[in-house]
């Protein structure tokens, strides 16, 4: 499938969706996008900038929610214009979808909302590529029905994204079988390497995270076989306004991407022997 001008799929080099969890300021967005563009260009990795303007499902209302839609879209437009990269943001039930669609290149739906039929179909009706996150409460094959709903409204640019599955309380687990399993939908499969290490609700009024496992899971997902990697990154995660415990430090991103690129090349050269057994 074509995505923002590059080919994506299980037989194409992996692409990266990355950026700070939330648009904390214009400066942060521009700087991060610029550094990410420079790094991914050097490594030959197609890149989409991701950032949110409103965190609608924070654990607590005392947490930072973002700069709001007007300021958020203005900054995303600026990132496109000044840095020259495609941008992605996530939308919610009360988002003015057409307004967001007029700015961004890719829309993303949150895991919690994956079963809301009207919402998923309304987002897909905007005509942009959509990255649909699998619910933490869903099996990989449950995405078949979600993809069917998305396609029903005529959108063929659907990506599906795994960000972990509920495992006991306040813990997620990433099932690498699920990545292969979701490839059966025909949609590009994306692995979200930073939300997968979240510990939802694990710190009372905020969520915890195990940042050290981000590169481990990202490598494993690439080797399992994916079309893309999603990764939130920040120049100073310890002081980030959202998801600090699970974002990856921007200044340590290069060695992670370098090994992912090398692994992706190897695994896609060899092909996926399991395809013959999966029907």
């Amino acid at each position: 499938m074509q995505l923002c001008g590059f080919h994506v799929g299980i037989d194409q080099p992996f692409f990266l969706i990355a950026g700070p969890c939330v648009i904390e300021s214009e400066q942060l967005a521009i700087d991060t996008a610029g550094q990410l563009k420079e790094l991914t260009t050097r490594l030959g990795i197609p890149f989409i900038f991701k950032s949110s303007y409103d965190k609608a499902n924070r654990s607590s209302t005392a947490s930072f929610r973002g700069l709001g839609i007007d300021e958020g879209l203005r900054i995303l437009q600026k990132v496109k214009d000044e840095i020259g990269v495609p941008v992605l943001t996530d939308v919610h039930e009360d988002t003015p979808l057409a307004e967001v669609a007029s700015v961004v290149d890719v829309m993303q739906t949150p895991a919690f909302l994956v079963r809301q039929t009207n919402f998923i179909q309304n987002v897909c009706r905007q005509g942009l590529p959509v990255n649909i996150k699998k619910g933490q409460f869903q099996a990989p094959w449950d995405m078949d029905q979600v993809v069917a709903k998305a396609r029903e409204v005529g959108n063929e640019q659907i990506m599906i994204c795994d960000r972990g599955t509920s495992f006991g309380y306040n813990t997620l687990i990433s099932d690498m079988r699920g990545l292969a399993s979701m490839r059966r939908t025909g949609c590009p499969v994306v692995f979200d390497a930073t939300h997968s290490v979240q510990q939802p609700g694990g710190q009372g009024s905020t969520s915890g995270g195990q940042r050290e496992f981000v590169p481990v899971l990202a490598r494993a997902a690439i080797a399992a076989g994916v079309a893309g990697i999603f990764m939130e990154t920040h120049p100073d995660p310890a002081n980030a306004k959202s998801d600090g415990p699970n974002m990856w430090p921007l200044d340590q991103l290069e060695p992670v991407l370098a090994v992912l690129k090398a692994l992706d090349d190897v695994v896609k050269q060899h092909g996926f022997v399991e395809q013959g057994l999966m029907g």
Copy 2:
């Protein structure tokens, strides 16, 4: 707390929220409400009629979604007028809340939407009692933050409801510890005995269910200690338009309620020895 004219809480007799999953027709709603009123009056169980007019998160768009809001609210009003019981329905992100609030006595929020801050607060702002379902992806104590958000807008009539927790793929499990744990919020705790036996996505394009475990889990929850029981029931579950595999047959409801009533009396007479250890 006062709810629809009766006292509810861990030191009060349990109340019942029951009805068919979806309003299939006026006749079904009226008949079921009538029979449930007769039965619960005889057994001395406070009763609230539940039915949905729109199933917004069906597995597949080929499934029946309901009669729509106008017809749905008309029928719920008729149930109130003719049968004389309070009514509850569930609302969603795109529900006209004030319109629904002008008819029903209790509003209910779906498990999948428990983390949507705006939505939960908007529902709670209507000034009616609200039954908030715990997400299948949440720990019991994660409801502390949800209750805090609900109370923030001034609503003190909050109930919280357990309808099962993700356990592997396509399976839910009911943690009886969680019912005791959620009592710490001070909110009446309700156990949903029919969605707890659902097998979400377990039959491909629809969800399965293990109806035979409904009375087992309902008895266990009553003995663990709850303020209320939620139970979907239908005169002919095999031909129901939604959730058939997990609804309980209306004509077999009496023995279930009778034992629940007797167990509830016993457990509440004895008191809850764990309270002293839970701080």
Copy 3:
């Protein structure tokens, strides 16, 4: 089925297996057995004293393992002689089974060893009643094969016991459906209310526990429908040499047993409506 002179089963009053996790001293065993006999006689609950002489699977070798087999069996014999109650102990792969069988009334096999065919069959060959614990890694219906192995050697006095199922890391969960499900084997089903609240490995070199949930789960299990309850108790759990965090204080046992007895009477008078649906 007959067990130590009383009738046990889903249509009989529940029996209690209780005692301190490990035989710390003769005095502790005699005193605890005496108090438990007095209490259960008063409440009309058939009682079997349980204690271990060797904890073969402690998390760490630095933990107390027990007084050894000779001293252990001498004390169990003394409990029988002086207090006049039947006794149960758990056996392991290297236990001299005949020696233990010459003293105790009931043998118990550990959850971790449930899949060891030779072991299970050797224990069952001793001709005593056996309480087989379900593995934490097993589904309730996996016990069908275990029971088949046990019966293959001619032992018809098999009880099966649920002590929790793995749920994420370092946590167990008790599925009340499983108790009903395991009744299909025809064996008396026992619920272990204290190991079910263990947090295995949860404190590094020892296991943690959530004692406050013992009465919650015990009540729920009785209401779900069981033949017996297993519960470890100690006069001073904070200073116990094993399983302190999950044992129930002996001096707070009476209110727990009193409500269990009352609930058990109620649920067994009403019968189990689910039986008709379970085939």
Copy 4:
């Protein structure tokens, strides 16, 4: 660490433990060992032949258990002598350990028995390298205590092996974080790619399996970073006498090993950036 004459560890090329689940016949063992030796030599992968002579924990007693210890050890000795490869077998509580240790090069302990202190220490006392499988009911960090017990008796040649963790009923899941986590013990970490796709008890009296995910999980584990891979293989899995549904076909092994070798080279050249964050 040195193992059978080669260096193993996170900074060494991965080694392979492979063979048919059970020694069905001398011919099968010799043929399979020969083909595996030829293949691994060509690919430059250090190789240890694995096969069992007694399956002590089959789901049902009607299943094939093996040829017994005398015939089993004779055949393993013949594999060593004729094929010239080191051999591994698994031992159980009632295994004559010294007898087995006199033939094999590596001993392996089953996941179910990981918490049996005497057993683990007795095996480790034989002085051979030991591959200890993590219990399906254990967290990765629970292996710290197991390794401590093993080292207590003076054995420093301990490997630890992940073969999946309980996830709901009749399903295992492989947590790639766990492989990195277990590296903290300092022991070589092995990933068992075939038992990880087992569905224990999933077919009533036998276990099921999802063979198609073997290469997916093996690639993911290599990319996460391991010292070795364990994989059961058979020339004709459909007619194998044990574990057929999860063994990998011998004639399709080459492409799997080839991609594992290439991925392992890449990931170990790049190093493990997470090490700096894991303390």
